[in-house]
């Protein structure tokens, strides 16, 4: 009992640390990526000098610098603001985003001795409903933040957010319905089990191949749900600054970070429902001996390959070392795992790490596509957004539910 309690606390701590760190790193990734897309270099200058050597890590220190800056800024509450709601709003935004991760299984559960270690927090049999209930609650941060700050632009941002969320919630709900009909379950881990093996003979039995229309609909709806461009009208930097106009310092940082964590969350949800979660295509989950070296080899060789470009063309020694050390670490594990006997505990643990790696890679690809879309497409106007939602996506998703039902029958 006490052991499981300690383990749960450690899991929460790890999740918090990973999510917050990844959110901060993603802010750098997005800025760097937008730079490359627009033929700029992006932020690469924040540095620490040790013995007259500048360590920049290719700009990875920028999130640290940003965080420090926001930490020391004045924590401003505007005149006439509802102080309680104003303070509470960023916590709402942050909490619901983080809580969503609770029912996402990042890897298979593992038995260490008598102890069963799960890689999610609870295996609800209505896990999917929980995911979407929580993620739609995160709009309260937006509405409260905009409403309580006694600012017209903030209020406009909040109202826009509410209208957008309500419209796209319909699409999201209907799409989930078709997914639930297809998988015939509401539990997240069950859904993953349904995605093993192949369909149509050659394709892995992932949701994206079985339900392509649902995938596109849900991707669009989740983009809107996460307030991502081209649906970022609650924020709309160029027209209204957004629901967080009046926020400064760490409260602003929380809004900012929660947005990036929500991106990770969206990536995780899509990976879970459509990309087979931690499953490796064409490999049975039991084939540890084959799967582990392959995954670690792939995960290791890509950074090693990229590190060549980092040193040759970007001339960033510290980032080169970072990439190379990670890559070599993975490669060493890959070679080492060849000598570990099957069905041993070491192999099982390595397999769990490999599964988390697979999950992370798939999530990363989805996040990459979201960033690419953001820096390609212009923002929808408000009426265009609602027209797209109600006149196009809702009918399509209703038809999609009917179609899925017919096929299943």
């Amino acid at each position: 009992m006490i052991l499981s309690l300690i383990v749960e606390v450690i899991k929460v701590a790890v999740l918090l640390a990973v999510a917050l760190t990844c959110g901060a790193v993603l802010s750098w990734v997005e800025r760097r990526m937008s730079g490359f897309i627009q033929d700029r270099l992006g932020p690469n200058r924040a540095k620490i000098s040790i013995k007259n050597r500048d360590i920049t890590l290719g700009g990875l220190l920028h999130p640290v610098a940003d965080g420090l800056k926001l930490l020391f800024k004045e924590d401003f509450i505007p005149e006439g603001a509802n102080r309680v709601l104003f303070v509470i709003a960023p916590f709402f935004a942050m909490f619901f985003v983080l809580a969503g991760f609770a029912s996402i299984p990042f890897a298979e559960s593992i038995n260490i001795g008598d102890f069963n270690l799960r890689f999610n927090f609870f295996d609800l049999n209505i896990g999917v409903l929980y995911l979407f209930a929580i993620s739609s609650l995160s709009i309260y941060g937006v509405i409260l933040g905009g409403y309580s700050s006694n600012n017209k632009w903030g209020l406009l941002g909040g109202i826009r957010g509410a209208a957008q969320l309500i419209s796209y919630e319909t699409v999201l709900g209907l799409t989930i319905l078709s997914m639930v009909i297809y998988y015939n379950t509401l539990s997240t881990s069950e859904m993953l089990n349904r995605q093993s093996g192949t369909i149509y003979g050659i394709l892995p039995a992932w949701g994206i191949f079985a339900q392509p229309i649902s995938f596109i609909l849900m991707f669009i709806a989740l983009l809107a749900e996460g307030k991502r461009a081209p649906f970022d009208i609650p924020e709309g930097e160029s027209e209204i600054i957004g629901y967080f106009v009046e926020y400064s310092g760490l409260k602003f940082a929380m809004f900012f970070l929660s947005e990036f964590i929500e991106i990770i969350f969206i990536g995780c949800v899509i990976t879970l429902l459509f990309l087979g979660g931690y499953r490796i295509p064409y490999l049975k989950i039991e084939d540890y001996a084959l799967a582990v070296p392959i995954i670690f080899f792939v995960a290791g060789s890509i950074p090693v390959l990229l590190s060549y470009f980092a040193i040759r063309y970007h001339k960033s020694m510290s980032f080169f070392i970072l990439l190379l050390s990670f890559g070599i670490f993975c490669l060493v594990i890959a070679t080492g795992s060849l000598f570990v006997s099957d069905n041993s505990l070491t192999m099982e643990i390595l397999m769990r790490f490999a599964q988390i790696l697979v999950f992370a890679i798939k999530t990363g690809i989805i996040i990459f596509i979201m960033f690419l879309i953001r820096w390609t497409l212009p923002r929808y106007r408000f009426d265009q957004l609602l027209n797209l939602g109600w006149k196009k996506l809702v009918p399509i998703s209703i038809l999609n539910v009917l179609l899925t039902g017919l096929i299943i029958l």
């Binding site: 990526m33 490359f36 033929d39 470009f309 063309y313 001339k315 690419l372 820096w375």
Partner: protein, 153 residues
């Protein structure tokens, strides 16, 4: 449908730029100049820091005629005239020739006004930044020592 094909075309463009620049950095399409470490070369017509020219015998070309000081719209030139030493055919030379580069608006009128072609702005560099105002006030010694842009590496 045309909308979707447009989106895909756009994504292709951004993706190509991203991959090229991610892999090849400045050898790719990136146009950023990382300023303090590197800079753009100014063209030959660039109006840079003033410089004063010497005659072939080593004396200043300037004859202290006050043309530049008169025409200067920013009132940044201050000349103190003196008699040329020895039996020089010319009468005057500047004892002190001071240009306040903080006041200068870099219009180039002084160069055009000069009858002796003694003042030029072809140094090919801007005034280097400093945290001290004194450093922007150039006297004739400094102005004579500034080189032509062709001599700069």
């Amino acid at each position: 449908m045309s909308g979707i094909s447009g989106i895909i075309k756009g994504l292709k463009v951004t993706f190509t730029h991203f991959v090229t620049n991610l892999l090849f950095g400045k050898k790719g399409d990136i146009v950023t100049v990382e300023y303090p470490e590197e800079g753009l070369k100014y063209g030959p017509n660039f109006r840079g820091v003033h410089r004063l020219i010497l005659r072939e015998d080593g004396t200043p070309r300037c004859v202290a005629c006050y043309m530049c000081q008169t025409i200067c719209p920013a009132l940044c030139i201050k000349i103190t005239a003196a008699k040329r030493p020895g039996s020089h055919p010319l009468e005057k030379m500047p004892q002190e020739f001071i240009i306040d580069e903080l006041r200068c608006v870099v219009c180039g009128l002084c160069v055009e006004a000069c009858p002796e072609d003694a003042i030029r702005m072809d140094s090919g560099r801007h005034m280097p930044p400093s945290d001290n105002r004194e450093n922007f006030i150039l006297n004739s010694k400094i102005l004579h020592s500034i080189k032509d842009y062709r001599d700069r590496k």
